[in-house]
């Protein structure tokens, strides 16, 4: 006999998780034109993985998105953001001065677009990685230590 009580939950979650992830990328890349940006998109991606963890179990989620990956992602995100600043310095500008990225005069916006896209990517990675690390730290705790482990 099938003891699976959550089949509807699983089917709906399987349908929703790709849509949630797509929406996160829409929020990420549409942040220049509408509400949203890297922070919101990072949280939404984290929520997609958390929904998977709630429905299919934390170990299954940890196999799909390993904790090693999430904590590295958080660090890499901050490095991407800081790296854009150093890129501007290497081009001869100040730290995080996007106008200096391609040596543009005021009024041209290529550097601003690329710079903001870069830092938003950094925020996305940093926030989603940190949120998932926090979630794993809470949800992945074994509440009791088994007798045989002592």
């Amino acid at each position: 006999m099938n003891t699976d009580h959550h089949v509807i939950l699983r089917v709906i979650a399987k349908m929703l998780i790709p849509v949630i992830t797509m929406f996160a990328f829409y929020v990420q890349f549409h942040g220049d034109f509408g509400p949203g940006g890297g922070f919101q998109a990072g949280v939404i991606i984290a929520v997609a993985v958390i929904l998977y963890a709630l429905v299919f179990g934390v170990p299954a989620a940890m196999r799909a998105v390993p904790p090693v990956f999430t904590r590295s992602l958080a660090a890499v995100g901050v490095m991407i953001y800081a790296g854009v600043g150093f890129w501007a310095m290497l081009q001869g500008g100040h730290y995080l001065e996007y106008q200096a990225l391609f040596h543009e005069p005021p009024g041209e916006h290529h550097g601003q677009h690329i710079g903001i896209l870069g830092i938003e990517l950094g925020v996305l990675c940093g926030v989603s990685g940190a949120m998932l690390t926090i979630f794993y730290a809470f949800a992945g705790r074994v509440a009791e230590i088994r007798d045989e482990d002592w």
Partner: protein, 213 residues
């Protein structure tokens, strides 16, 4: 009498409706003992306040509140709740007096402070007249980005946003250092799979037992 039915009246109705829901949710949270219901109600509180932020035209704030307050913090609080008991202990009446006095005093101070606040959307208020007006005037020429919030956060205040990202990273790092990276449940799962005969029921593997594989 006729002016009661123009656009402003509708906005006032929406404001009163949303704030009444917020108030009712807050009172319900304060009176409840079941931690699960409290966590769920705080998610509802965040969602309703996000709707209210939309009503006062703070769309980006509403987005963040809906994603972080209603989604993320609810889940993290649920995870924290699993580590403790399910109901809060009832306090003795005498010990409730102190917090109640603090709440009443803070509420009175906040209501007193709102008397000085400028009206919503007041063009001469400090937020709209100072640097905010400058951003609105020069952002399009200097950055070419339509949503003025994005260049303010990313370009004019890039250092702030770098600091915020670092704060989020530091928060994740601190929680992971305090609570562990959570890989023990994965190890537990693998250990259970290698000995399929003796799967022990504990709190952490209660959900993982339903894994379809």
């Amino acid at each position: 009498m006729h002016s009661m039915f123009n656009g402003d009246f509708g906005i006032v109705l929406v404001n009163i409706f949303l704030l009444a829901i917020l108030f009712a949710t807050g009172v319900a949270i304060a009176r409840m003992r079941s931690l699960f219901a409290i966590v769920m109600l705080s998610g509802i509180y965040s969602l309703v306040s996000a709707a209210w932020y939309v009503a006062v035209d703070a769309v980006d704030v509403a987005f963040t509140e809906a994603a972080v307050g209603a989604g993320m913090s609810t889940v993290v609080l649920l995870g924290a709740m699993l580590l403790t008991s399910r109901t809060a202990k009832p306090e003795k009446l005498f010990f409730r007096l102190g917090p109640m006095l603090v709440c009443l005093a803070t509420g009175a101070a906040l209501i007193y402070a709102t008397v000085d606040l400028p009206a919503l959307g007041d063009a001469s208020s400090p937020a709209n007249a100072g640097v905010g007006l400058t951003y609105l005037q020069v952002a399009w020429f200097e950055t070419g980005i339509p949503n003025v919030v994005t260049p303010v956060l990313g370009s004019y205040r890039g250092f702030d946003t770098l600091g915020e990202t670092t704060v989020v990273f530091t928060a994740g790092l601190a929680v992971a250092l305090l609570l562990g990276f959570g890989e023990r449940s994965l190890a537990e799962r693998i250990r259970n799979e290698s000995r399929p005969g003796e799967r022990k029921a504990n709190k952490a593997s209660a959900s993982s037992d339903e894994d379809p594989s």
